[in-house]
């Protein structure tokens, strides 16, 4: 963390250009976020760098783009809140005429009602099937979104990849344990993939994010079975700078802070 203003004026341009590597960029941002003077300089540097776009060869968009855009815009304006005129209710029918026809219409009405109920039941069934289908689609969409998110997380430049290993002096049974954590502080997204032997019956493993400052944050409790790999993905508070990740052996169900032996540790180099 740096509380110094960037020393050279070009630092702002290099930042806006995106040329700073992760550590430099983070140091720069951690200062600028709380310095109004520097934030102003960043805005000006962004403008200086932005105009480099004009070095690109001139290409015009195809006319279809504007058309699609304007159609999209107009469709959004006609959305649910758009002004559909209300249909005025018809004036009530003359009661006398209605009563005279009642005798004739009643049996017809009965048959019609039955048909309506049957149709309604059929419709209900269709609706249920439709709802099931929608649920399935929704679920698949969600799974896809999660997979994509994970792929994006892995590709992101600021994502840390931290291997976790068993520590010296760990009991023989845990010596083969290993894991890998991906951690994106900006988003607070974290994934864990690893192997550990099954925990004793009354114990669970617990994954911890140990921040630079403050107490370890629990990132999940897990119980691997039958020598299988564990995969977890979790959302933690965003913006926490991690010092290390660790897995400890805790009473079944986990604890609010680590109490048991650390079986895997992954310091951030």
């Amino acid at each position: 963390m740096s509380s110094e203003h960037p020393t050279r004026p070009e630092d702002f341009d290099l930042y806006a250009l995106g040329a700073l590597d992760d550590a430099e960029r983070q140091a720069f941002e951690s200062h600028v976020v709380s310095c109004a003077d520097c934030a102003e300089k960043v805005a000006a540097a962004r403008g200086r760098i932005a105009i480099l776009a004009f070095a690109a060869p001139t290409v015009a968009p195809s006319p279809g783009v504007k058309e699609t855009l304007m159609r999209q815009v107009i469709a959004s304006a006609e959305g649910p809140s758009g002004g559909l005129a209300r249909v005025k209710p018809e004036p009530a029918a003359d009661a006398g005429v209605f009563a005279r026809w009642w005798g004739v219409l009643l049996p017809v009405a009965g048959a019609f009602a039955l048909a309506t109920v049957l149709l309604w039941l059929h419709n209900e069934q269709l609706n249920r099937q439709l709802a099931d289908l929608r649920n399935t689609i929704e679920q698949q969409k969600q799974e896809l979104a999660e997979t994509r998110h994970q792929a994006d997380l892995i590709a992101a430049r600021e994502t840390l990849v931290v291997p976790l290993w068993s520590q010296k002096g760990t009991p023989e049974s845990h010596a083969e344990g290993h894991a890998r954590v991906l951690y994106n502080a900006k988003e607070g997204m974290m994934t864990y993939d690893g192997w550990l032997p099954s925990a004793p019956a009354d114990k669970s493993y617990q994954l911890w994010l140990v921040p630079m400052n403050g107490a370890p944050i629990s990132a999940g409790v897990f119980n691997p079975q039958n020598g299988e790999m564990s995969h977890m993905m979790m959302k933690l508070p965003a913006g926490v700078t991690a010092k290390e990740f660790a897995v400890s052996l805790e009473p079944a169900g986990g604890m609010t802070h680590p109490t048991g032996p650390m079986v895997l540790v992954g310091p951030i180099s």
Partner: protein, 186 residues
């Protein structure tokens, strides 16, 4: 032929067009599209080298402007600068398969551009100026700037790409941005 109405749109400031978008005036968005879509398409195509992807992003940016124009504060920064920054960010994210930028792009990315780019003549003048400024840079400096700006590479990624020592790349880029600042903003 240019109608009187069209002439008025050509003269309208970005800020007044934004205000009209906030009032749900579609023609104001169309006017901003006419004003800036060419400049954005050029940079998107240069980064992505993929017309379809470039046009998707282009449409998306203007649709975002339509939906969230109220968040844009014309007194803090310029729309043209914001559009250029967002277009480049999105194209590079796509190129490098990063997370798409999320959230409050409209209120968070303040960009102050020294030149007023509302008139197409001004855009053409600036284009000539930028091209000549880049042409005047030593070859390696220009290449480094282009790798950073159009491909989104950092110092060490450029060093890796060109095989030059990191220190050399850093000096090159620093000198290049210094020269450009002097040539383009004096």
């Amino acid at each position: 032929m240019v109608t009187a109405e069209k002439r008025a749109e050509l003269k309208a400031t970005d800020a007044s067009l934004i205000d009209r978008i906030v009032q749900r005036d579609e023609s104001a968005l169309a006017a901003l599209y006419d004003r800036y879509s060419g400049m954005l398409t050029s940079v998107l195509n240069r980064i992505l080298r993929d017309t379809q992807a470039a046009e998707e992003i282009l449409q998306d940016i203007f649709y975002q402007l339509w939906r969230n124009a109220a968040q844009f504060d014309s007194s803090r920064g310029s729309l043209s600068g914001w559009l250029l920054v967002i277009a480049r960010n999105r194209a590079i994210s796509r190129l490098r398969r990063h997370n798409p930028a999320s959230g409050d792009e409209l209120s968070e990315n303040t960009v102050v551009v020294a030149s007023n780019l509302e008139r197409s003549v001004a855009q053409q003048q600036l284009m000539a100026k930028v091209k000549s400024a880049l042409d005047n840079l030593p070859k390696e400096q220009r290449a480094a700037i282009e790798l950073a700006y159009f491909e989104g590479l950092t110092h060490s990624e450029i060093a890796q790409r060109t095989g030059d020592p990191l220190g050399t790349v850093k000096t090159r880029l620093r000198t290049a941005v210094e020269t450009l600042k002097r040539d383009l903003h004096s």
